[in-house]
Each structure stands twice: as C-alpha cells, then as structure tokens.
C-alpha cells in the first residue's frame, strides 16, 4: 500500500435503493499519481460507488474525505468543485453538438457582450487534444460522426479541461479495438504522470494489470479486497470477484442482504 495520505477517502459507505442494498460499509481510497482500479462482477456496486463519489447519488451513511478534510458532496457540481472529473461509460456527449461545444459543455467561456467565445474555446480545445495526442478530423466535427475511440478520447479530454486532481474513468476500454485500447491506456498513464489520482472501472483484467497500481474488488455491494498489482495475480483477483476463494480481507461468507 502506498505511503502518504490519500487524496480521496471513503469510510463505511452504505447506499440503499428501495429493496436493494447497493453498497454496504464500503471503504475506498485513491492517491495522487496512482491508478486505482475498481473491479467486480455485474451488480457488485461499482457504478453506485462512483456515482456516490461524483455526487450523483448521495450515500445513506458513511464518511467522504477529500484532501484530508471531511466534505459533503451532494451534487455533481460539488464533486467537480473539489477537482473530481468523471468520464462515464456512456460518455455523456451530445451527438448534435461539435467537439468544441462538447468539451466546454456546462462551462462555456464568454467573450464580449456575453456571447460565446468560440475562437478562444476552439483554440484551447485544439491544445488539449494535441497534448493528449487525440486524432480527430476537425474540432468542429459533430460528435455523432466520430468513432468509439475518438469519442472516448473526447470524453477524457473533456474531463481534463477543468484541470482536475482526480479522474474517474468508467469502462474506458469497453467496446474498443486493440489499437484504440492501447491508446486509451497510454492516455491513462499520461494522466498518472501529470500527478492525478486516476480511478478506473474495468471488466478487463488484462487492462487493469497493465495500468493499475492498486486493485479494489467489490462483491455484492461490499469491498472484499484491496490488492497491490505487483503482489497479486489475476487468479487472486478473479477469486475475490467471484468469491470462489477467500482473499486476505474477505470475510469467509458474504451474506446477501
């Protein structure tokens, strides 16, 4: 486990949707300059957990600390304000708008007389895309006409415009080809080198082992393992995900709620 205080700390997070106990007493940490992978089977609570971090869901009970201080994150804006950017699996892009408009959506810059500063936004958009080595035909292309990898890159670039301290990526390599996956993984390493805390949700253990420093496993709404990538192997991770074999920190029986 890394030294130093984590950037993000969650303690004892629980969340219930009606009859479904989505999260039970989950602890989670993310450190600056490290990639933390969040893995688990379908319905393990990964999405609920990141939505809680991103302020879309509110936790029923539990503690949320950022940069060592307890904070109250009840809206997406509050999370963004802390410096947490989230890239969702469905990318949340507006197909009818161009790349520039999507990058700046919700934080458009204004020029004179309260009109949009299109030139300024286009310039900065080009700069960011160049820095991340994203290749698209033109920043004025409608997002609808981009490929899956390009859309993923635009979504990640979009999260970088706010100069965040932490980035959450939900299944960034799902549905991507080999070359595009390699590109996105390279992008993730770039983010880590910039000193960001990166949280990656993934089903693909090969990708996880390639980029992650720490692997956090959820199962049936509980956190069942925190593993150092260098000291574990995929058998151990799979065992923790499926509950086939007890990991170090896993209770012998995980009771279903």
């Amino acid at each position: 486990m890394p030294d130093g205080a984590p950037l993000l700390e969650l303690h004892g997070v629980s969340k219930r949707f009606g009859a479904v106990q989505a999260l039970t007493d989950v602890d989670f940490e993310a450190h600056a300059g490290r990639v933390t992978a969040l893995v688990g089977d379908n319905g393990a609570g990964k999405s609920t957990l990141i939505k809680t971090i991103a302020g879309i869901n509110q936790m029923d009970t539990g503690e949320y600390r950022f940069d060592g201080k307890p904070v109250n994150v009840t809206t997406p804006q509050a999370a963004t304000g802390l410096g947490i950017a989230t890239v969702y699996q469905d990318l949340a892009l507006c197909d009818n708008l161009d790349v520039v408009a999507n990058l700046w959506l919700g934080r458009e810059e204004l020029g004179g007389v309260r009109l949009l500063d299109e030139t300024g936004m286009e310039q900065e958009a080009s700069t960011v895309l160049k820095r991340l080595a994203v290749r698209i035909p033109s920043v004025r292309t409608q997002v609808a006409s981009l490929s899956g990898g390009q859309r993923q890159s635009v979504a990640i670039a979009r999260s970088m415009l706010g100069e965040p301290r932490m980035v959450i990526l939900d299944e960034p390599t799902a549905a991507l080809g080999v070359a595009q996956t390699a590109q996105v993984l390279e992008l993730i390493r770039t983010l880590r080198e910039h000193g960001l805390a990166v949280v990656v949700i993934s089903h693909n253990l090969a990708d996880v082992f390639e980029v992650a420093d720490t692997i956090v496993v959820l199962r049936l709404g509980r956190q069942v393992a925190v593993l150092d990538t260098k000291q574990t192997n995929s058998d151990e991770v799979v065992a923790a995900i499926t509950g086939a074999k007890a990991g170090d920190e896993q209770p012998a029986e995980v009771s279903e709620q």
Binding site: I56, P76, Q77, T80, T86, Y88, D90, A92, L93, C94, D95, N96, L97, A101, L105, G106, R107, E108, L110, R114, L115, L116, E118, T119, G120, E122, Q123, S126, P137, S138, T141, Q142, A144, S145, L146, S147
Partner: protein, 406 residues
C-alpha cells in the same frame, strides 16, 4: 463518389469553391439538409401559384403575405425553441388569442394606454409560460399533456376575458400601428444595405479573428458567395416592399426577433444549453446544466412569443374575437417550424426555420385564397404539407444515422 468508397469522416474539404461544393453534396447525401429543401420548396410553390394566378407574385400580395407572416412567424419562433428541447407546446395558439384579448380589453374597456396594454398582453404570455413550464418540470408531466390542458383552459379564459360582446374592436393607434405602419420605401433599401454591410463585416471580422488565432478559416470565395446570396435576397425583398406600401414595421419586428433568437440559440450559453438538453438531456445534466431551469425558461419564451404573435394578429385585424388564436393558428405555427427544418426529435434547428417555413405554409394559404379554394381543401393541403415536412425530417435523420451522424 459514393459513401461506401471512402470513409467520408476522413475526407477534408478541398480548398476553394469546388471543395465546398463537394462537401455540400456530401452533407446532402448524409441527411444534413439545412435550409435547402425549404428554399427549393418556396421556389416551386411560388412558381405554381404564379402560373395559376399572376396576381400572386405582385408586390401588393407579397407584402400582404409578409404581414400575415409576422404574426404566425413570431409564434413559430417560440415553437422552434420548444422543438429544440425535444418538447412540444400545443397551447401557443390559445395563448396568442388570450394575450391579445387581455391587451384589447385593458385598452378598450379599461382605458389603459396602448403600450401598457401591449406589455400586459406580453406579461400574460410570460405568466402562462411560467405556469406551464413549472408543471412540466416540477411534476414531470409530458409537455404535450400540460400544453394540451393549457390549450383548452386558455381557450375558455379567452371567452371569459372577452365577456358577452364577444368581439373587441381596437382603435388605439399604438396597437394598430404595429402592423399598419409602413416606412417610406427609401428605408427598406437603407435597412437592406445596412444589414448586408453588417452581415459581411461580421463574417469577415470573424474570419480575421480565427486566422489571427491560428484556426482554420473558410475559403474566401465561399464567404463571398454567401454574402452575395444574402445580399440578393435582401435587395429583392426591398424592391418588392418599395414597389408597394414600403417597409412594414411588423416585418422589422418579426425579422428582428428571428435574428435575436438565432443569436440566442447559436451564440449564447443559454442557447447552447437548450441544444444540449435537446440533444442529450442526461449529458446536459451531468455537465452541470440546470436542465429544469433551461426547460422552464424555454416555455416562458415560447408563450411570450406566442403572446407577441397574438398581439400582431390583433393589430392586423383591428380586433380580437372569440376565434382569435383558434382554428389554424396552432397548426400553422408548428407547421412553419417543422417545414422550416427544425427537427421534431430535438437538438437540431434554427430560428430561421420560423421565417422560411412560415413563408411556405402562408404562401400556400395565400395562394389558395387567391384561387378561391374551399377551406376544406386548404386544411387538407396544409395537413399534407406538414406530414411531408415531418417525413423529410425523419428521413434525413435516418440518413444521418446511416452516415453515423445521428
């Protein structure tokens, strides 16, 4: 070149007019139709009615057409905004009638000055819009239902406001002057020239700014072509107006509103948020956009513009009566927006579709009136045109999907 030959996303436009023309043809093939179908439509319709009755293309008749357009078109501008959200407002006709009635009664029966009565009429629209928008956003009832309920309720309210007499005749000079004021022909020419110069200056200035920022700029020939096309259209309009009574004030109001709302949609934060909500509501919400506030504001704008349209209609007819805003007002306004190219599926469209689509639907109405066609036939033809426009919208959407642009 067909789409399958080469991935069109990877094709950059070649420089110059030839490249622009190739890009234009590609966009057409992929369902990015823009305003081309409607401009072709206007040309065909005008040709047909001119062949059927040579009085159709006279300056007098075209000026009358524009006077009619001011009222319906203003309502249609509001409908465009609502359609951009991916919603619909079925109450605009009834709201236009009620707002005009409030204005007329306050002016004629209560003795309010004309300008104050006009403001009261607009305020009526704003209050109704707030009410309907609140209902849509607070209780998550589809706008279709809320505004249908509004349509019935405001129709009833119109009868109450008008009282037993049923018809209120307006003599106030300020109110009737809205549509019946004409500026001397010189002003029509002057305004056309001023707008052309302003348009050209804006385009060239923007091009220089982009070049200075190191961003790609459109080829100069394309820019000049666009400016020339706009200039010819405006000067032709000025010539028509100058040959009749001159420049109508209502036309200045309506076109001014179209330009303003176009600016609002394309160049302001609010407009960008409207497009985003219409394109992908969830994405807009996650981007921190206050989706409900945007929705509410659009319904307020739509009802206020409907009120403005109703006031213009009352000004043109010198009266408000029990059928004000009823019968075909709603159909014409929605048809104008859709025929003009604003998508029923949200997120795509322009304020100018109220102008262009309004010209189509009112040309048909006006032309059939000239030919003495029965109103039964008129309704059926207009219904057919609306269905045709909606079909073009749906098919072009499918074209975009096939080209990966939906």
């Amino acid at each position: 070149m067909t789409v399958s030959d080469l991935d069109p996303r990877l094709v950059a436009n070649e420089p110059g007019l030839a490249g622009a023309w190739a890009g234009f043809r590609r966009r057409m093939a992929q369902g990015e139709l823009g305003s081309l179908p409607v401009i072709v439509g206007i040309a065909v319709i005008w040709l047909i009615f001119w062949l059927a009755n040579d009085r159709f293309l006279t300056p007098v008749n075209l000026t009358n057409l524009l006077l009619q357009l001011a009222a319906i078109g203003t309502i249609a501008v509001g409908v465009v905004l609502v359609l951009l959200l991916g919603e619909i407002d079925l109450s605009v006709g009834a709201v236009s009638g009620l707002a005009a009635a409030v204005m007329a009664v306050l002016n004629v029966k209560q003795g309010w000055p004309g300008w104050l009565a006009i403001l009261a009429g607009l305020a009526t629209g704003a209050v109704i819009g707030t009410f309907q928008g609140f209902w849509v956003t607070r209780f998550r009832i589809p706008a279709f239902v809320v505004t249908l309920a509004g349509f019935l309720a405001w129709t009833g309210a119109l009868l109450v406001v008008l009282g037993e007499t049923g018809t209120v005749n307006i003599a106030d000079e300020i109110i009737t002057g809205l549509v019946n004021t004409f500026f001397i022909p010189l002003y029509a020419w002057l305004l056309a020239v001023v707008v052309i110069v302003a348009y050209a200056a804006e385009k060239l200035w923007e091009r220089r700014k982009r070049a200075a920022a190191g961003l790609p700029v459109p080829p100069m020939q394309v820019l000049v072509t666009r400016i020339v096309v706009i200039a010819v259209a405006l000067l032709a309009t000025a010539a028509v107006l100058a040959a009749d009574r001159g420049l109508p004030l209502s036309m200045v109001i309506f076109v001014g509103l179209v330009v303003l709302v176009d600016l609002l949609i394309r160049r302001t934060r609010f407009g960008r948020h409207v497009l985003a909500v219409g394109g992908n509501t969830e994405a807009a919400r996650r981007a921190g956009i206050q989706v409900d506030n945007v929705r509410l504001m659009v319904f307020v704008l739509a009802s206020t513009l409907a009120a403005a349209g109703g006031i213009l209609a009352a000004s043109r007819l010198f009266a408000v009566n029990q059928s004000s805003g009823a019968s075909d007002t709603l159909l014409l306004a929605i048809a104008a927006a859709v025929i003009g190219g604003t998508s029923l599926f949200g997120g795509r469209g322009s304020a100018y579709s109220a102008l262009l689509g309004g010209l189509v639907i009112l040309s048909i109405e006006n032309g059939m009136n000239l030919l003495g066609v029965e109103s039964s036939t008129k309704f059926m033809v207009q219904g057919g045109v609306l269905l045709l426009a909606a079909t073009v919208d749906a098919l072009s959407r499918r074209g975009r999907q096939a080209a990966g642009r939906a």
